[in-house]
């Protein structure tokens, strides 16, 4: 598509990069890669809602926690296999999203932000207080799927990071089908002019509920994978700063672009990891104590992104590409004109 020249090259670059990192990574590299892949899923699920339908949520972490706690409860309390627990966790997340969505999608703009924030914090408060779920201590001992049938061990970081990359790829492909469908086109229209769409006969609230449920379901999937990845969960998963962080990933990467959201997740997680590591700073010839101020440095980075790339890095790069192309095209026409003369 002419309006999205960055898509194919970036998709290829990200795939190759992920493969190269996976191939070369050490133990911690695989842990990091798995975290990036999980948060890419989480960020893409939020982007469908925020970037496409224009519904800015500050409570998306609630579904991360629902997916994680459901997985933990079923593997630890009931001793279910992780794969079955994951399936049930995703269904439960969908149910939770449908229930919350019924109320939330009636509101829009800043009121939608507020109600999602409030409901997200209710989930946090519940998990924090609940004795069966370990209160503020959280839960541990969550298992990973048994891949014995394939001759693989999911507890091997190499295998697990590959699983997470495949899951992220699968979610990306699923969401790509959705955003290219009539439904996806309608979501963009909801973002732009909800009222006009209603006058064209679109039951806007039902569409918003549908997108809220899809986003919540995939958020729950990310939560289930997080629980399997770390083997430990705590109420912090539902805390509003997690919702804020994934929103930042989407904004930095580029709202309204799945690859942008996934790149944003990778960028934010890698920056956090590298900037809080003394070695990074020493490599740059700076004192290692700078690593204590990693949040400050990240803050400056976000401010710069918002100032100079308001539509995210993906949007900014697309804009630059289009401008470059526009500059090249008239030149070519002028040359053609000279030749004909």
């Amino acid at each position: 598509m002419i309006r999205d020249p960055l898509h194919t090259p970036l998709a290829l670059a990200l795939t190759l990069l992920a493969l190269a990192v996976w191939w070369n990574a050490d133990f911690f590299g695989h842990e990091l890669l798995a975290e990036v892949a999980i948060f890419a899923i989480f960020a893409m699920s939020l982007d469908l809602m925020v970037g496409y339908a224009g519904m800015v949520s500050l409570g998306h972490a609630a579904f991360l926690a629902v997916g994680a706690y459901a997985t933990a409860a079923m593997t630890v309390f009931l001793g279910w296999p992780a794969s079955l627990a994951m399936l049930v966790a995703v269904v439960l997340s969908a149910g939770a999203a449908a229930l919350v969505g019924l109320f939330a999608v009636r509101l829009s703009g800043v009121f939608f932000i507020m109600i999602t924030l409030a409901i997200g914090q209710m989930f946090y408060a519940y998990f924090f207080k609940s004795r069966p779920f370990g209160g503020d201590n959280g839960m541990s001992g969550i298992t990973r799927p048994d891949l014995g049938i394939l001759g693989l061990d999911a507890n091997d970081p190499v295998v697990f990071s590959a699983m997470m990359l495949l899951a992220a790829l699968g979610v990306y492909l699923l969401l790509r089908v959705i955003v290219r469908s009539p439904f996806g086109h309608t979501l963009i229209a909801i973002h732009q002019n909800e009222n006009r769409l209603r006058a064209l006969g679109c039951p806007v609230q039902r569409y918003k509920l549908a997108v809220y449920v899809i986003a919540g379901t995939l958020g729950g999937l990310a939560g289930s994978l997080t629980a399997q990845h770390t083997g430990f969960i705590s109420p912090d998963l539902a805390f509003w700063t997690v919702s804020g962080e994934v929103l930042i990933m989407v904004i930095v990467g580029g709202m309204g672009s799945l690859l942008g959201a996934a790149s944003g997740a990778a960028l934010v997680i890698l920056m956090r990891h590298e900037l809080s590591d003394e070695n990074t700073w020493q490599l740059l010839g700076l004192p290692g104590v700078m690593s204590h101020y990693w949040q400050f440095v990240m803050g400056i980075f976000f401010v710069l992104v918002v100032l100079f790339a308001a539509d995210g890095l993906y949007g900014r790069l697309t804009g630059l590409l289009m401008a470059a192309r526009a500059r090249l095209t008239p030149n070519r026409q002028r040359e053609d004109g000279n030749v004909s003369r």
């Binding site: 009539p182 732009q192 006058a199 064209l200």
Partner: protein
Amino acid sequence: MFRADNLHKAFGSLQVTRDVSLNLPRGCRHGLIGPNGAGKTTLFNLLTGELKADSGQVRIEDTDVSGASPDTRARLGLGRSFQKNNLFAALTVRENLVLAALLQQRVAHNAWRNLRRFKRVQEAAEQGATLLGLQDDLNTVVRHLSYGTQRQLEIGLALALRPKVLMLDEPTSGMSPEETHAMQALIAGLPAELTVLIIEHDMDVVFELAERITVLDYGRVLLEGTPEEIRGSEEVRRKYFGSEG
């Protein structure tokens, strides 16, 4: 075909619509005029469902839609244009018309098939653009179109729904004389079986296009009749054209 019976609406103690009834047979061209503050826009919103009447009924083809939402009324065949351009400004002309065609063909909810494979939707969008004379602007982003062209697309979107009733809210407002003429030609060329209700400030436009005219005053129907009857009415002249003698 499209009728309203005894509509009442009050905002607090202010009665803005008092016992208004309209009856539009199929294919009629009906004008709605009245001085500023007569309650034209409120009546319009009561008919489209943006506002709910305190009492009274609205019917589309014997279906009572008095309590129905704007989107339900649109699906039952009520198309409308807006007084201020109200389009999907960051999308192209094609994308705007595709949207209307998706909703008209009841496939907007399809989330699994690529939009480009909906050939009938694409064809409908192209036909719509041709009807409006916008076939060369299909890939132009709407906000880059001239004001008058946007006004035309505004009506084009409503028409793309293939409505039974088309309600036009000041279709020529803010237009140059040439653009007004183009718009008049567009409205005059609408399918004969389409029922059209026009609110318009420009008297010449209404008198030219409408077969019947309703004059509103202080929320009441002051008079209803043919353009000749309205023009000849002493009461209307006093109320409406009073300042002009």
